[in-house]
């Protein structure tokens, strides 16, 4: 049973896809089907609409989410009414979405349902915390298309990444692009005395000098970096940006004389919005990026079929990805791995 054992070591999991139609929902169903419910209480939700019969954008068939007896799930009022299973309503939460209030229910006869839960990072975090009162051991979040934010370690500790032909139909490009994302997820965690203090900071760009003093550069985000006149890397061992890390800041540090002495730090990989090219130049000049919090990437799943009908060779794809990533890669649809 690939990677299920691994998932059970964590109390929260998010499943994210690098593109629409990369088999994320199948991956979710695969996991839900195999979880040992007699050992663990599981709660499932999803960012925005998910579990619809047809893909809202490309009108291709999408697998539905099958919920087993005993599972908890949270979905919007409108979708709750359309469920094709028997469930016991246990809570009307204070969260709202465009489809009504978010409800939580416990499945009493398994079946299929539409799942669309809270949509912002903050409300997801509240949802995860709120599940505690039902004695939930594992919370699973089905992430949104090309949005990695739900995989932020601030929300869930482990993640499964879905990629596939929909992301790119050229195997080499697909491998390369996926590899870059996996590399970002795998960035090393900062080991420094200033780490705890940095975790408490909520906005702006900050520095830590060689004596361990934390300095506020007094700019609201890395986007405003061009307003600085002096070289911020001078005398610093760490440059920390709370918000998004963009090419601009990365290039600024890459161009500085002190690049080899300074470490660039971000909250977690979901805050990194840099192009691969800029990152490679940065690294080639001796730059380092580290994170304050790290997610555990449990597995990578692939879907070799693109919505336009293009099909990649599953075996070659898995093999190439596996070589490049150094991680197990699964084509769940083709290989109906044993239970």
């Amino acid at each position: 049973m690939p990677f299920i054992e691994e998932i059970l070591k964590y109390d929260s999991l998010s499943i994210v896809g690098l593109e629409k139609n990369v088999g994320k929902t199948e991956c979710l169903n695969y996991i839900l089907y195999r979880l040992p419910l007699h050992e663990k209480r599981v709660a499932v939700t999803s960012i925005g609409i998910d579990g619809e019969n047809k893909d809202q954008v490309t009108s291709t068939k999408k697998p539905e989410i099958f919920l087993r007896e005993g599972m908890y799930f949270s979905t919007a009022e409108a979708h709750y009414k359309e469920r094709r299973l028997v469930s016991e309503l246990v809570e009307i939460t204070n969260e709202r979405s465009s489809l009504g209030r978010i409800l939580t229910a416990k499945v009493s006869v398994g079946g299929k349902a539409l799942i669309s839960g809270p949509s912002s990072g903050v409300s997801l975090r509240r949802w995860v915390a709120g599940m505690e009162k039902f004695g939930i051991d594992l919370t699973i979040i089905d992430g949104a298309i090309s949005r990695l934010s739900s995989a932020s370690p601030a929300i869930s500790k482990a993640m499964v990444l879905s990629t596939g032909a929909a992301f790119s139909s050229n195997i080499n490009t697909l491998v390369q692009k996926t590899k870059f994302v996996v590399e970002m997820i795998g960035l090393e965690k900062l080991q420094d005395g200033s780490r705890d203090a940095l975790c408490d900071i909520e906005s702006g760009v900050w520095g830590v000098d060689f004596d361990g003093n934390i300095i506020d550069f007094k700019i609201t985000s890395a986007l405003a970096i061009s307003s600085l006149k002096e070289d911020i890397t001078k005398g610093m061992k760490i440059i920390f940006t709370v918000g998004a890390l963009t090419d601009k800041l990365l290039n600024l540090i890459a161009d500085s004389k002190n690049i080899k002495e300074v470490t660039l730090v971000v909250k977690d990989f979901t805050k990194i919005f840099v192009s691969e090219q800029a990152y490679r130049i940065f690294c080639a000049r001796g730059g380092k990026i580290k994170v304050l919090q790290k997610s555990k990437l449990v597995a990578v799943c692939v879907n070799p079929t693109a919505p336009n009908g293009y099909v990649l060779d599953s075996d070659i794809l898995c093999e190439k990805l596996q070589d490049a990533l150094g991680l197990p890669v699964y084509d769940i649809v083709k290989n109906k791995y044993d239970i």
Binding site: E77, Y80, L89, L103, G110
Partner: protein
Amino acid sequence: MYDTLDIMSPCGRKMLLQSTMMTTKRELDFHYRRLNEIYDKDCAKIAHKLMCIKDIQTTLDRLASGATLDDIELFEVKYLAIVSGEVLQLLQEQKIIAVGLPHLEKVVEILDPDKSNIPSFYVYDSYSDELRMVRKQMRDLQGNGEELPDDKRMELAALLQRNADLELEIRERLSGELKEFADDLSLALRNLSVLDILIAKAAQMKKLGLCFPVIVEDGETFYNGMFNPAVKEMLGAQGREYMPVDICFEREPVTIIGANMGGKSVVLKCLALNQLLAQFGFGVAAHDCCVNLVEEVILCIGDEQSIVKGVSSFAGEILAINEVVKKMRDGKCILALVDEPARTTNPVEGTALVEGLLEVIGTAKGGFVLTTHYNILNDKVKRYRVRGLRDGAMDYTLEVTHCGDVPHEAVAIAESLGIDPQWIELTKKNLNN
């Protein structure tokens, strides 16, 4: 004041925002008796329960009209009945009689056939043997969600349909049985909201040091140790102390004179705020007080100038005051509070206008308080004067005075504000001439 009120439930908040000003002694006495009872009790546990209350009036209206409720609505009803029952028990433990709640055990019974007494709901198997059987078949057929062959899928679809039909039948039956409790449920929701507001008001009184007012009709209004909660809090944050004031008035108009920055406008704002707090049944910002009921509170303060409407500061103000005069002459009971009327015109005519205003108001019902810098000679008014600068510090105390002479402290105050020394010097020279 609304912002400092910790109301727990959305329906409590809605009820408060929809409430109207109370204008009879009977209503207010009843309200304050209830508030007084809550004030003396520890209601932390009840407040915690009220946090869970949702506004389900629409659902209850549907129930009363005979509609069939869906799962979610039945859940809401059951939830309300359970929480209401828990609050009722807490009220009985604390011996609180200010708010009564109907007994809803029967509602819980109908919606909890398994007697689990937890706030969750679905159409339970125990409602019907056939339902139980259909669900068992579904479970057996479905397993853990493996792909099913076509014939099995059809069979499952049929079972799912049968399940839905049975659920609908049961929900129809339950809605019918619950219909007779719709009024009780609405009453429970309403009284829980009332309770929520009372608890929040009592907590606010303790937090801000507010008092219970004595309510009178056509009598005297007095405040001992009156203060403005917002200003007091702001000063407190700066480590400074608020100086409360005493004031008392009846039918005759009141004028307040005194130095600039002597807190005259603050007094007017406090009077307006406290009158409203009292008539909306809140604690009042004073050490102790007696409040005469009015039908309306009008506060004329600030600059009414509007370039768009083509109204100057003077015109805007005079028109606003004219409204007060009209209403008072029509016999409406009003508390009118006017800040420096006719201040934007020449002192000669300004004084005459204020004198005229005081005469025309006379001893109308309600109350009339104005602040002014003019020397008012009318002897049918009650005069207060801000004690003013004492050893360089402002003494905000209001004292009754019999002469209309206004204090001459403007230059000294301007000087303490640090304005240009040459300006001050030349001003003093002019005064001496």
